[in-house]
Symmetry: D3
Subunit: 340 residues, 6 copies
């Protein structure tokens, strides 16, 4: 399938403001200024690995929107499908993030209501969009932000699907955006469209009322819906500065579960976006290797694990780096101490 | 009159985010993090000069609100009348500020809609408020932000006035918050309550349709309304980095105009809040010197002029510093080069 | 007892200067600028938890003193009892702090001699002081700094006690300020005034020549003196970046020792002031919960443990944060990874 | 002419390292990290104004090259024609820049020899390149850097010209790269290809041995070669922090000189790249307005003038900002003080 | 005269702490950390110009003293005659400096009492000292700091003089260290030892009660004492950010006054230490050019003028830079805009 | 042996540029600016411990070279044997360093080719050099950089040896500078000159084809060549942030292996230069304690271990600090938590 993009995604781009290092939001004189957003994190990760991606989003027509657009381009993500909000109340959604250190947890404060993205409309988007990508990805956050963003996302998914685009969806449940029940009802409506489904075991149990062991749960989604691949990350938070990260992937076609040793003793610098980075690695594996779930597993785990060491939402690892990390992860012998 | 506070003010407290030095909003990795807001600027200026002040405002019940509260206290302004918004959509209004350098003008981007302050209600405030201060100050911004803030401000003004509180009002017209006509109608409604009126010549002409020379215009306000003192700042912007700043004050009681040489060749570091600093100096003069308009003029001009040299919205000059500046301004002989 | 303050404290406020991150005092181009001081740390901690506090201290009448005053206010601590030193040699005491990383220990350099605080005098203080607070706290540092500060502190303690104020005292032995023997003689003189006594096991042994197990030692203080509560922190320093922190409290009234699991695997960002933060939590528990030693234990341990994760001397945790930490500490099941 | 790009350029991309503010290269602990390069500066300026641009360059295949590529994208410039140097000695050229303040001049130190760009070869470039743009721009720097870069640039110019591409050339004489005589011989060889020629009066006199007044000189180039447009900037350096900037443009077709009042009292923040920004504005005027030299003059002067106020090599002004500046420049009445 | 050093100086080395840019001492989170001191400024200036210098001083034996020693070495000044104070109250003197911007003056706060330097003693110094340098310089600050430093400085001057060392002395009157009368008495005592005398016109009038025009005054010192050269700087402070700087030198031997056009429109970044830099240039001229007062004038004016553009106390200009500045100062034709 | 220096070394001085904290080379706005280089690291470590050292190197005659020279002096290392390259292509070699965090390894990018050091020539050096030091140290890096630097280093080693100077050599094998075989051939040529030989077990096996256990290998070097001391560090990299570091030393004279417990759980801040720091400690032990290998072991291990906690290449520990660390390392009882 020869299309302009390997992956398009639709989602909100947020301004992220964080106190430096271990400082606190309630004090201090500076904020580190970054952008993020679940779907942007995914496409930028895939872009850094070498595929062609773009983001569908709505930004305010002001310097903050320009800043976000410039950062999108910095990540090698196409801004062809960014649309601009010229209303006088146009705004870029914000979130504030504070690092944790045991026993102090990381802290997130959202200020994303009324953001320009919440007004995104199918009319904003060109028709050529629907045949321009091999794969489309979005997440539950986009469905939860506003009725307008939900309707638009679902309509885009439908049209993409009709044009033979692979549909990827990450549940990404956020209790502060909607209730579990609202999420379940809405997501069950779109699952018939989904090919690749990212859902954690915990969300499956709490939101979708699944029972049994994790394998039973993952498989059940492919029984209930025409889903090809189910991926589930497994994270153990030993402390804000030490995590273990791995995943399991189920392939309907092969009826097989793909697993490997998780990454242990991760030295966490910034955990935000590591789940999205996982999606980016997994989608890279599927898109670059003809839906090879072993590749999805290895790339997903490596990109997810290493993102924890990178400040900000956005990943920054290129293919060489990820390949070295995968190699080292499999390697049981002595290793070089640094990359020279 | 022996009251707990010399000055109370009501207004929005904003988070101010600025790129460092001459950097731009559309680029860069940090924002300088400050707070500001016209009314807070005024009371903090008066507080630094040594009087007892407080701010009436509504803040989100989250770390950003706590940050704002801490900064209010840092300025020596009482937080007794800060109330908190526990709604899930509570937010602190934001504005972004970028310095200018000729031929590039300073740039402001507002993101203050839906802020917690817009929901402030008389019910939030204790009855003791209305007899606790010698003077109450607010500005046209508070009237313009939302119907709720306008109604609350007018009601507070009324009750304060009934309890013998001196009422100070700064027009502070902002074309992006309301039209000139909306401003005129609303402000003419409250002018019968006002004792001290801050209005620039330009606003008097454009918004209140005044004609004639500046003295005619200033005097006319005291003819139309029971206003005691009218103050009007006069700023010449030679470039973003060089201003001239002065003012004229008219006293109804004396039927006299107070004037002095303006401050010329001001080396502007941050011009925001210098008009508010002027109000703070003028109110300090009136409150500390029994409504002495000469003192209001000298303190107003000095605090306004020097604020241009201080980064951020908030002033930071104590009485000793302002007194030295006034002395130097009047001094025509040789001066010491620095304060040791 | 209805008094203006829940807690007043008396002690020196220091300027603290630290190289950023892991940099060294002997190199580099910046110092992080903060304030601290054992007693200020205690009252600011109690203030952040929601009680009304103030600090009795003497500051130089210069911009450094103003900076310290502004920071006191930032913490929500009243500056009503700050007095100013207008002598030409007035100075703010300083200490330099450098972080450690194993095998390099943290480094402290003091430059606090001749500080304005050392000249503090009972004559500086208003008589209303002695009936304005429910509790008064000071530490052995104040007794050790100068004869003048010692005499003043003891006199304030006496008058406070006479007016029914609860007296809290933290030994806080510093070998560079006085000898163990000097400390013992002086402190034994004031112990008859003390209600709440903070003393580590090690200090009890080395300075007060106590013997036996820790419980025997703690109890013995209440036998020798009319002390109600003895609290003793227990810290294990695994490395400069990993500590275990807990405490034991003995209540004379109940004749009972209060204990709980210590906080283990604390990810230490800045250990300075964590002992003071412990005092603040313990005093909060006693003052807010009618001398409930279980509350003192839980609040003390949580505020002490979490302070290790916060840069600078001063705590910054409000009641919600501490309550969440206590809850998590008791919780044995799965936990949320971050506070959203 | 419907082509993918409005403007392509070929030139070296350099890492620029500068001490912050007025610090010096010989001291201090940080460098501000940016990218620049005459040709990149030009295309990024045109891109920010809204046209489609790309840069032809060669970067090392290492993280520094990736950084440069990311910045190119950040500026909205296509990286389609970036090629990578995988040799073990691949390197990104560097220059160090230190701000001046009278009587201290700005200081530049080059470390650009042996850079990957010097190895750029026609073989590196796809054939589609030569028909992909409406206009091609390069400068004397590219001709001077190495024989390889010179040969490649001349060959690209030839092929572009053959395919009907407008050729723009800026002399940009640098005495540390070649002698005036070398420059003259080489540039006279390519002038038969050039449509738009940027050359300062001083360079015309010193390098091309032109005589007479500036108009005579400018016109003479169009007599000697088939050049359509000659543009010459005129800068007066009152001090490192105050410049006057303007230009004159001669149009062969109209046989007319375009002039306007220069921008005076420019508050210079960073002068580097303002000549390149001028080229970007002038080319924007020609490309967006069908070779309208009046537009070229106005956009050139405005983008050149305002670049002096922006840190780094790269411009950052979008069309709205430049249009406002042009409007203000022509406006003789009162002006708004800031852009809100 | 073949000696190990061209210039030795004796004086206090201070830690200098400044808020960044235009920030204020009373606010903010960082101090820029530097060292300075009148005599160190002089020798480091001479060292950067290429002569061999050293500083005689006493530093605390702690990391702050080490920092100061490292900075001395950084400047190319020998630390052979630094001695260390191992007392428990050893301290490095501090001063705080805040930049000004009209109408706000620069601000200095001293905290230099009880510094280790005040305890410096002749016994601390090796006998070889007195024959190791061609010239010895100190200033009135050293005489004023403490009786101990005064006695030591005078004794060192005497022994140096006895061994044929040229003695240079800068009055550097500081009203916060001693009265004019104390200064006069003390300095008149040492003037019989002085060869090169730096004294401003204002100090000559106020402290030494001189009358008449500046030339009369300067000459009178050489009549009263065996002084060879009198140098007097002339500074006009147009604003904190714009100064004019020049000087006049009188040579007894030639009975001639040396003058040149002052440096006008200096863009002041940091004015501190520019008087000391003047001394360094003047002494360089005398020492490197066989007491040529024309050279002293030119080097003095250039180093003094350019120091105003350099952050911190310490100069940083090498001989090439100063020579370029002198050349440009004399040059009346067009100049290169930057040093490439 | 009474010579001017205890240790001279010859090697390249590099500019080191690193993103702050955990940021990445491919992003961000600042580089931390430092200097380093294996041989400079060694001599500066020895200098901080109190011996007299100097560095033989060649720097560009530009501000970057001046910066490097100033830093050399900052470290207390003599710049007497620095020579300057005035060629127009003179350059300071650079390397970029990025911190790691598991699973992301630290990253190094070199840009050191064509550096001025590569042109160093025996003719540049004065004859007095060869009799001025008790010991001379260099490393395999100097041999590998260029034929010119290799020839010069070998010639310097020969002449030093002839004049009775102890020769120290660290293999420091770098695969990106030469092959193992090239290294072996070259180093075997100079081993007859070497007295103290630093070589890791791994390098001994891979480069010198040694076999057997580590003791056998170490001893074999002293059998094959007239080497007196062989030292071999042993590092275990648990993660980029946790290492174990120790060493073994073999003394030919005693025919004895010196060992002690390694430093475990090192909290790594910056691992670069810790091997060089080891050499500095070991050489300090030998030079200050009459070739006492026990001292070499203890000082080597302590300086090497603690360097891991210090940002940048260069050590910064003085003798007191190292002595405290050695004492703590041997101490099995309770320890003070910080150095006050």
């Amino acid at each position: 399938m020869d299309r302009e993009f390997d992956l398009l995604s639709m989602g909100e781009i947020l301004l992220r403001l964080s106190p430096p290092d271990n400082e606190r939001i309630v004090r201090g004189d500076t904020f580190v200024k970054q952008v993020g957003g679940a779907e942007l994190n995914v496409v930028s990760g895939v872009s850094f690995l070498g595929l062609r991606t773009g983001i569908i989003s709505k930004l305010p027509d002001n310097p903050l929107g320009t800043y976000a657009k410039n950062k999108v381009r910095f990540c090698g993500v196409s801004d062809d499908y960014l649309v601009y909000d010229e209303d006088s109340d146009a705004r870029l959604g914000i979130y504030y993030y504070e690092n944790g250190a045991f026993p102090r947890k990381p802290r997130v404060v959202y200020d994303r209501r009324h953001a320009s993205f919440c007004k995104i409309n199918v009319c904003d988007l060109p028709k050529s969009l629907y045949t321009s990508s091999r794969c489309f990805h979005t997440s539950g956050i986009t469905l939860a932000l506003s009725k307008q963003s939900r309707d638009t996302a679902i309509e885009v998914m439908r049209r993409m699907k009709e044009n033979g685009t692979m549909i990827s969806f990450d549940v990404n449940f956020r209790g502060n955006l909607w209730t579990g029940e609202e999420a379940r009802v809405c997501i069950e409506e779109i699952l018939p469209l989904v090919d690749v489904f990212f859902c954690s075991e915990e969300t499956a149990r709490l939101t979708f009322h699944k029972e049994g062991d994790v394998k039973t749960i993952m498989k059940s989604f492919t029984d209930d819906y025409p889903i090809s691949v189910v991926a589930s990350t497994q994270r153990i938070v030993h402390s804000p500065k030490e995590h273990t990260f791995g995943s399991m992937i189920y392939s309907k076609k092969d009826d097989r579960f793909y697993e490997e040793e998780p990454y242990r003793h991760i030295e966490v610098v910034d955990r935000i976006g590591s789940g999205d980075a996982y999606c980016s690695g997994a989608l890279y594996g599927l898109l670059a290797y003809n839906n090879d779930c072993q590749k999805a597993l290895e790339y997903g785990n490596a990109t997810g694990a290493v993102k924890n060491t990178i400040p900000g939402d956005l990943p920054s690892s290129d293919l060489k780096e990820i390949n070295r990390i995968i190699l080292n992860h499999k390697n049981t012998g002595p290793q070089l101490e640094m990359d020279r």
